[in-house]
């Protein structure tokens, strides 16, 4: 993985000094809160319901075991012993003191990490496929480009005060695992007909109040031009994006208002002036950065390990875990393992300091000391020998990290919602916990099969509810919390925005609502059809009809403030 050189270290060091002084000036009242706000946001610091929240970047989702251990240390020393992995390949700490933040940033810098531009109206942490570099279906490794773009976006002077936040995602596999269609810019690394490498450029996707899928504005952009072309996009957006209304300020609104063709033409005109300039990427720089992402020293192994096959045959629980949580690898004899952070009773994405340390340990012992964070809020050990899977499984199980539910209904994406977030209309963590409780039968869960359930506590859509096969959105009705349900959303190659099925429900009704939706699916599915395929084939009508046919009883839900009662 990428390692800082002296320049990277210097830049991060100077940032911390700058931020330390900003905090000092804020505490001395030399800065108003209004002035401090964008400064702290660009350092990842939010004010939340109970305390400050610090969001730390995991650039394109990759980190070392050393960095992971630092996360555990920060959780213990400066927070309440846990952290929250998010859909944007970040980790968030919910209970941070302002005065501690410069020191936390110093601790992070000591392991080549930072919280730069994890928030605010600037280019955010770049996200990517969690299996980049190891996926069996990978066409081109996107990580060198992601790192080059990380550096380009870091403290870009012209684009630090954009109309709104700006998110870039990059994918290099056949299957899109980076949800590129719902990003401000979605890049796919591709080959053209001549076999040259470049990018398919999508722009104007996003969720929030107005969910829109991105439009392709360029089928092929030679890789050398990625920075100048993005500069052109950002300059157009910076000048023409709406600033009068923050709900209409995202680039998706601009692209939609003028049309993707017109927008593309403007970008091309802007780009013509800077194309081939010094910001053009060089072969030497690409090679330098790519060298950091070379393959580890894989052993040469048979593609099938007999003992592993035997364990699978003998042990159904192990086989289930393999089926759900273990992914194919490009190298024979290896696999990638998803450690599920979706154990019943624990908020999706939360991990204790002990678990974080333990996962760092696993990475050291089983996976070349490297890890990934997924946008479904799970963790990945990317390079595990097949022959080690059984031992690894037993250890992970003992630490509550082997719930065999990846890609299933209980592998939910869920934002922090009303327990932590000051923007929430409703809680989301207790809804997730209650639904997980209801679907606690593993056989049943496996029978339902692949299903993406996403929950957001408000229309900002941090929980990706729009692209959930089933989406749950917290809404406020006369001061009470209710939940609106949508069906048919999808991420990936066939991204789609879900459709709302009808009037919203109370928290206590939600597990039954989901159960009814599943009943319709099980009743109407054709053999081997996934939930999303049934939903898209039938539309929402049969679900709507059945869910609302008879009244749904409300049951006694968790309902308490997860922010204060969650225990591990």
């Amino acid at each position: 993985m990428y390692r800082y050189d002296q320049h990277d270290h210097q830049i991060i060091k100077e940032r911390i000094a700058q931020y330390r002084d900003q905090v000092r000036r804020r505490l001395a009242d030399e800065l108003t809160e209004e002035e401090f706000l964008p400064l702290r946001l660009q350092n990842g610091l939010y004010m939340q319901r109970h305390a400050y929240m610090l969001r730390v970047a995991v650039p394109y989702g990759m980190l070392s075991s050393t960095q992971m251990r630092k996360f555990a240390h920060i959780a213990r020393k400066y927070d309440r012993g846990y952290g929250h992995f998010t859909t944007r390949q970040n980790i968030q700490y919910n209970w941070i003191n302002l005065e501690d933040t410069p020191t936390i940033l110093e601790e992070l810098a000591s392991v080549e990490m930072h919280a730069i531009q994890t928030s605010g109206n600037c280019m955010r942490n770049i996200t990517s496929d969690e299996f980049a570099g190891v996926a069996a279906d990978e066409v081109i490794d996107p990580r060198p480009y992601a790192e080059i773009l990380r550096q380009w976006t870091t403290f870009h002077p012209e684009f630090a005060y954009l109309p709104r936040k700006f998110k870039i995602a990059i994918n290099g596999s056949k299957e899109d695992r980076a949800a590129i269609a719902v990003h401000d810019i979605g890049l796919t690394v591709v080959h053209n007909e001549q076999g040259e490498v470049g990018f398919k450029v999508m722009v104007g996707g996003g969720m929030g109040r107005t969910p829109i899928l991105g439009s392709v504005i360029r089928e092929f952009l030679p890789w050398q031009h990625v920075m100048t072309y993005l500069e052109a996009i950002l300059r157009i957006y910076n000048q023409h994006g709406r600033r009068d209304n923050k709900y209409k300020a995202r680039i998706k609104i601009l692209v939609k208002a003028i049309g993707a063709d017109v927008f593309a033409a403007q970008v091309e005109a802007e780009w013509a002036d800077i194309k081939d300039g010094p910001a053009t990427l060089t072969q030497a720089e690409l090679q330098r950065v790519a060298a950091y992402f070379g393959s580890p020293e894989y052993a040469s192994l048979p593609s099938v390990d007999a003992e592993f096959e035997q364990h699978k045959a003998d042990n159904k629980a192990f086989a289930n875990w393999i089926k759900r949580n273990v992914k194919p690898h490009k190298v024979a004899g290896y696999a990638s393992v998803v450690l599920s952070l979706k154990k019943p009773g624990v908020p999706p994405g939360d991990a204790t300091a002990d678990q974080i340390d333990f996962v760092a340990d696993l990475a050291d012992r089983y996976s070349f000391a490297e890890l990934r964070v997924t946008h479904e809020q799970n963790l990945v050990l990317s390079d595990v020998q097949q022959s080690a899977l059984f031992a690894l499984w037993q250890e992970a199980k003992a630490h509550g990290l082997a719930t065999p539910n990846v890609g299933l209904l209980t592998d939910m994406i869920c934002c922090p919602g009303g327990d932590f977030c000051s923007l929430a209309n409703a809680k989301s963590i207790p809804i997730a916990l209650d639904i997980t409780d209801r679907f606690n039968q593993l056989d049943y869960l496996h029978d339902i099969g692949e299903l993406e359930l996403n929950i957001s506590g408000c229309i900002n859509a941090c929980g990706h509810h729009h692209v959930g096969n089933i989406g749950i959105l917290g809404v406020d009705k006369d001061g009470s919390e209710f939940y609106q349900v949508s069906i048919g959303g999808a991420q990936g190659n066939n991204s789609a925005i879900g459709k709302i099925i009808g009037p919203s429900f109370s928290a206590g009704q939600m597990p039954d609502v989901i159960a009814r939706i599943i009943d319709v699916y099980l009743r109407d599915r054709i053999e081997n059809e996934r939930f999303i395929d049934t939903a898209q084939r039938l539309g929402i009508a049969p679900f709507k009809e059945y869910v609302y046919a008879t009244p749904i009883k409300s049951f006694e839900q968790h309902g308490e403030d997860a922010g204060t009662v969650v225990s591990y």
Binding site: H7, E14, Q22, P157, E158, F159, A160, R243, A284
Partner: protein, 177 residues
Amino acid sequence: MREIIKDKAIVQDDWTVLRLAEGETPDAIEVPAGKHIIPLQVWLIQREELSARLKKTQDLAIWFGSAEQAKDLGADAALFPLLAVDFPKFSDGRGYSIAYNIRSRLGYTGEVRAIGDVLRDQLFYMQRVGFNAFATREDRSISDALKGLTDFSEKYQTSWDEKNPLFRRTERTGLSA
């Protein structure tokens, strides 16, 4: 006379920014004698009358509103001793692209000044996109603001101040320890 930051030093400044008051329009407003930084629209509408004065006295400059663009002034830019860009709020970042374009597209080499809600923590980025003068907010210490120009000694990407990205400027080491 107020103080501003110019070319990294605190200097006295005798320019006055002319802003339209409520009800005033760019066609009707009369530009008083003396050194004035006038709204772009006033220039565009009163260009004929103001041209002669500008030639003679060089006591006119232009400021851009954040919704305006460098290209709106075009080749006229070269006539002025000073161009300013207004920041109605420090969080409105359009002025950064305007300044960048004033330098790179209009090829303007005179003074480019940031006016309005200009604060210490924006100065480093502002100088990178082409500003060399800053009329920082008068209710804040200007000597403190001056420190904002030196927050960083290194930068990754190109902008007006730096034509080459880091990877073209230095031999970056391969794999570090």
